[in-house]
Amino acid sequence: MNVNNNYNTVFKLSSELIENYQVIHIEGKLIYGNTQAAKKELVENIRRCNGYILNLDKVEYIDSTGLGAIMNFAKTITKDNKKMILVIQDTFIKEILSISKFDMIFYIVPTIEKALKDFKEGFKTELELNAY
């Protein structure tokens, strides 16, 4: 789905099921003005599966409200005892997530393949999402 807000910034959300893990691809800018729609779309597109991979590899930019959208999604899937892995390559977005301490609760990898592998082999984060 494409969402276009008043500031001519677009984000696109699509998803696929790979080996019973839902891979959600987000493209564009996850920023103020988009994020209410992003929160809604993310939650509405949740499918029953073993776990979730949020692919942010094509996210051009993210701000504090975009981080809030990710957190909102994570809390939603945690209610169902599911886990999530974030796929990110962009060094600045990774830095923002690190400064925000997201790397304490989210497992972050560079590729979808690595996420699928680590889901099968198991992974740990410093803090559990259900600690909130």
């Binding site: 008043n6 500031y7 001519n8 910034t9 920023i31 103020y32 003005g33 929160k39 701000d63 504090s64 409200t65 981080l67 809030g68 959208a69 957190m71 909102n72 809390k75 600045f92 923002i96 400064i99 925000s100 301490k101 997201f102 304490m104 609760i105 803090l127 600690a131 909130y132």
Partner: protein, 141 residues
């Protein structure tokens, strides 16, 4: 290259994008090495400024927000000027005590904390309106 520029726009949601682009272009033009961090912080400050103007001001549609940028290759200072009254002192005191870990599981509340982390100095002054000032210097390797 040294640069001093100013842009004034109506205090509305559409202006966030306009000021974002103005800030980004100005910082890149001067080849300021830490532009991404400062740009992120300025974006967050502009959001706060627009929201505060719409929430706190009478006739917000008549209000404006100004962005003043002083930049060179090694350092930059950005002023966000509005008529919304600035961050109340008690809120600033609370901010001093809070960290990003405190808001880790929240959907919001991390904007101003991120600003603090991303720039070297953030302070506010009263001039022709409320002025939030952000300063960033390139770290020497």
């Amino acid at each position: 290259m040294e640069l001093e520029v100013i842009k004034e726009v109506p205090a509305n949601y559409e202006s966030i994008y306009v000021l974002d682009e103005f800030c980004k272009e100005s910082l890149i033009k001067t080849d300021f090495k830490e532009w991404k961090r400062l740009y992120f912080a300025v974006h967050e400050a502009i959001i706060n400024s627009v929201e505060a103007t719409i929430k706190n001001c009478e006739r917000p549609e008549e209000k404006t927000i100004k962005l003043r940028i002083f930049a060179s290759t090694n350092e930059a200072e950005v002023h966000i000027i509005d008529q919304a009254g600035g961050i109340p002192d008690d809120k600033i005191e609370k901010l001093e005590e809070r960290s990003l870990e405190d808001v880790l599981f929240g959907d919001n509340g991390r904007g101003i904390l991120l600003i603090k982390e991303l720039v070297d100095k953030v302070w506010q002054e009263k001039e022709e309106g409320n002025v939030l000032k952000l300063y960033k210097k390139v770290k020497e390797v």
